[in-house]
Amino acid sequence: MFGWFRRKEQSKEVARDRLKLVLMQDRMALAPHTMEQMKDAVIVAISRFVEIDEKGLEFEWKGNERNKALVANIPVRSVRRSAKAID
């Protein structure tokens, strides 16, 4: 009886969410360079503030079916006294 008022997720919403996830994975898998470029961009951005161990930098996809997160592990050697100007 009360099921009448409980809203069931529409199948189009399920389709849209599944598509978004699968495309994220497809696009990443098809663009191995993207990860490398992203690493380089992060190194440049962060190095203004901290000195990092570039070799130890790691990116990883974390999360479950619904939520995906890009988790970065950035080993820091030291913190700069003030932000370096971008050259």
Partner: protein
């Protein structure tokens, strides 16, 4: 000033050939000189959709291999003056033509025609590479289903890396009733996911089946159908006109709503 447009999709059966025939008919009826090139070698179909299957003497592979001149292989449409078809070979396979040969062929057609519409085979292999080789622009056809949209995304990526910067999307076989019920992805969902320009929406229409049975594309002006109108609108957008999108919304009737409520209850 002529333009070659490839109609592609990744997934088969979503309506590339139907779109090619109808856009060709629409452009020709607006007074342009149009040639349809069936690049689906080995699985020729555009001829039957156009109702021109009985007139084929030579085909695309014959032209490429030098067995006949281009002019001899072109079939003139029986209804529209400026409309021609270059049929695919049925007994050969996709490797009998190279992308370079396709590009040469399309360039040669450009000397005579305003629009060259290339009907692309399904897949991402050689047939796809051949079909896009001579094209200036790309139209991607999808249906509002997960697998078709996923394949469209892959194709968009491949097109981008081949230098096609602004492909247009045609969403085919939309079922307004299912969209209203929340059981089919809507246009904004699909556009948001694919991040691509929308060229048109074609409803799922039984008239497409009828017109394909007869070999008379729905976009022929004598035909009155939503799908035909949608294709004519896409043709006008291809020409640069701003055409409002058809209102395809259909709402569930009171009885359908009640029935659903009882079923889910």
């Amino acid at each position: 000033m002529s333009e070659a447009i490839v109609i592609t999709s990744g997934k088969g059966g979503v309506g590339k050939t139907t779109a090619c025939a109808n856009l060709g008919v629409a452009l020709a009826s607006m007074g342009h000189k149009v040639v349809l090139v069936d690049a689906d070698i080995g699985l020729r179909n555009l001829d039957v959709v156009m109702g021109l299957e009985n007139r084929i003497v030579y085909d695309l592979v014959d032209v490429v291999e030098g067995f006949c001149r281009l002019r001899q292989a072109l079939i003139k449409d029986k209804r529209l003056d400026g409309l021609f078809l270059l049929p695919a070979a049925q007994t050969k396979d996709k490797t009998s033509v190279t992308p370079d040969q396709m590009k040469q062929l399309v360039d040669q057609l450009k000397e005579e025609y305003d629009y060259i519409l290339v009907d692309c085979p399904a897949g991402i292999e050689q047939g796809f590479k051949n079909a896009i080789a001579g094209a200036d622009r790309a139209l991607i056809v999808t249906t509002p289903e997960v697998s078709a949209v996923r394949d469209a995304d892959r194709i968009i990526g491949l097109l981008e890396s081949s230098g096609f910067d602004d492909p247009g999307l045609i969403v085919n076989r939309l079922k307004p009733k299912m969209v209203a019920k929340g059981d089919m992805m809507d246009i904004p969902d699909i556009i948001d996911i694919l991040a691509i320009r929308l060229m048109g929406v074609v409803p799922d229409d039984e008239f497409i089946v009828v017109s394909t049975n007869r070999g008379e594309p729905a976009a022929l002006s004598a035909n009155r159908s939503k799908a035909g109108e949608a294709f004519r609108n896409i043709a006008r957008r291809l020409l640069g006109e701003e055409v409002p999108f058809l209102d395809l919304t259909e709402h569930e009737t009171f009885w359908e709503k009640l029935l659903k409520l009882i079923k889910t209850g």
